[in-house]
Symmetry: C2
Subunit: 349 residues, 2 copies
DNA sequence: CCCGCATCTGACAACGTTGTCCAGGCTCTA
DNA sequence: TAGAGCCTGGACAACGTTGTCAGATGCGGG
């Protein structure tokens, strides 16, 4: 007997902790497998009586369709990935939520991951999402080389970059007008009589940071002011470094009378430092803050609309997925200067 | 000729926009399918030379393993779901990030969704996540009946509730000491001489809201103070309602001299209202706020540790997944009173 | 009474991966 | 030099679903 038939041995795979499958439902309802599939997916061609029996069996067994298998068969996962810097940052919460809402409107779920501003981690995350076959990716880049995504994009993964542009590849991106916003903010200080204006921002390798610095420089140039090196500080946004930077430019040989801060994390530290100064120092900040209007004085900000960034990017993503063959585009959203007091303080020498 | 063999017709399935599969890699490398699998998964039993050839083919084709298929075969998705109320709320950002970090440490990805405080949407989301066969669920409940999860939990989906307990089922939950925190906060106001103290909170059907109200009532009772109905207001947290509530209790026949606010959204509105009052009104708030220390006066808060909530819950989740047979437990995390000025103002009648 | 048609149902293969098992080649020893 | 044992590689089935297609059933008309 060389070939005993044997059947139910070989307990190779896991069966998901014994979840019922369509086969089980079919057996219980006394119908074929495909009929169950039809009922579950609301396809036509099933008599009401049969449908009832199937529904009953589904109910009784607590069946829930396995989307993994479905995905494997259909090729679309109805999920998109979002790679951002840090979900805990108040700037990214609303952005993420906006992306989620658009995804939801298209019946998709959102998988997100934080890169912690680490390019390697960004890549690891993005590729892990691709391995899960997300339909699309929204990426807030940490690194500046995204050629690793080329095969993925070629394979059909819709991709949109937000907040910062992609590096090394041609892709959609949705940005705030960082340059223009910073320029306007600094010009606002100039208009209120300041000439010695400091700039404290994030690491220069970050696109938004360098753009805002460029806006600062341009505004100063526009005003015919020669910028001193000591007035500019770019680097990590941890409180210790920012504090040191602020204190230095406030106490140097030609101390600044106003400060422009390059993002919300820098701002909160600078506000603390300014509160300790004996003389009033003007402040305009990039990014709005909750409660900014209730401080004394209120904080004048250049606000960007995080939710709009997310919404625009996600819209664009789904337009790609709907098959519209679009050329990569760079969409820039305007910023808004909100005067609340701190930016209108006159210079105090 | 009844059975023409035919092969490459029947273009039924999608092939993921023509992504290479292991089969393609195998063909190109001139090896068997399983050998590619071994290389991709770092399994032993492949000569360095063969491995090199396979790696080369992978590189050349831009192959990336399809995790959907892998999941189908292995039964674990290495992903967990997080259902929360609103990612854009500064309380949930850090919580979500903490869950993500724990997941990452276990090699899992995080899928999250916002329920917008809608029980139906919570259920829809949670079940969609189950259909994707997430290994576990972390849920911040919007509803108070979670029996719909029973079949899922029985089928092996690890589940932990956070911030609010589950309803109708016995499951792990991780909570802040809402009662104790509120009680301590109100007692703090009493200790500074207040007797007419108001409470403004969220809708009473939300567990945290009712617990905090209970803390308020108990603290008042402890102090032997009879609470008037006009001093308590529970309802939606939109600014309009909160403003009205605050203004009413500040102007009634026995106006309050201090207010205890039940969550961060309420707090920001109340701060605005109090800033408009001619007399100083004391304030203690549940939940910490960025910049709370920089307001005049600084806002005294009962702080809960959102990140710790998330971390604890996720840890517990993965302990369940590691197979430890645990009895459902209720873990309560302490709150911390941070005095900054607003809670230490004396009563001004 | 039988045929054709429409309607409903089910068998089967395929999606891309991994677990099992066996075949073949090699080395090492007696 | 033959045999035992190890190592490498590959054929095959299975995971749970859906697309294709053909079979079954019932009905009306010729």
């Amino acid at each position: 007997m060389p070939e005993t038939p044997r059947r139910a041995d070989r307990p190779s795979a896991p069966r998901y902790g014994n979840r019922p499958t369509m086969k089980d439902v079919a057996a219980r309802a006394g119908v074929g497998l495909k009929t169950v599939s039809r009922v579950v997916n609301g396809e036509p061609g099933v008599t009401p009586e049969t449908e009832r029996r199937v529904q009953e069996a589904i109910e009784a067994l607590g069946f829930r369709r396995n989307d993994s298998a479905r995905v494997l068969r259909k090729g679309r996962t109805a999920s998109i990935g979002l790679v951002l810097e840090d979900l805990a940052d108040p700037f990214y919460g609303p952005l993420s939520r906006a992306v989620e809402e658009v995804a939801r409107a298209h019946g998709a779920l959102l998988i997100n991951g934080s890169s912690a501003e680490d390019p390697d981690r960004e890549q690891e995350l993005a590729l892990a999402l691709c391995a899960r076959r997300v339909d699309g990716l929204v990426i807030i880049p940490a690194g500046d080389d995204h050629r690793y995504l080329e095969p993925e994009i070629k394979a059909g993964v819709a991709t949109v970059f937000v907040d910062r542009p992609a590096g090394g590849i041609d892709a959609d991106c949705v940005l705030s007008d960082n340059f223009g916003g910073a320029r306007q903010g600094v010009a606002h200080l100039v208009a209120h009589g300041h000439r010695r204006i400091g700039f404290i921002g994030d690491m220069p390798r970050i696109h938004t940071a360098s753009e805002r610095l460029r806006g600062y420089r341009t505004a100063m140039e526009d005003a015919g002011i020669a910028v001193e090196d000591a007035w500019m500080s770019l680097g990590a946004t941890d409180p210790a470094r920012v504090r040191r930077a602020a204190e230095e430019m406030l106490s140097g040989p030609s101390p600044v009378t106003a400060v422009f801060t390059g993002n919300n994390r820098v701002t909160v530290t600078v506000i603390r430092v300014l509160a300790e100064q004996s003389r009033p120092v003007a402040l305009v900040a990039f990014d709005d803050l909750e409660l900014a209007d209730l401080l004394q004085p209120g904080v004048t900000v250049v606000a960007q609309d995080a939710a709009a960034l997310g919404r625009t990017a996600a819209d664009r993503l789904f337009r790609q997925l709907d098959g519209a063959l679009l050329l990569p585009e760079r969409i820039e959203l305007p910023t808004r200067l909100i005067a609340r007091g701190s930016g209108e303080l006159p210079p105090a020498d």
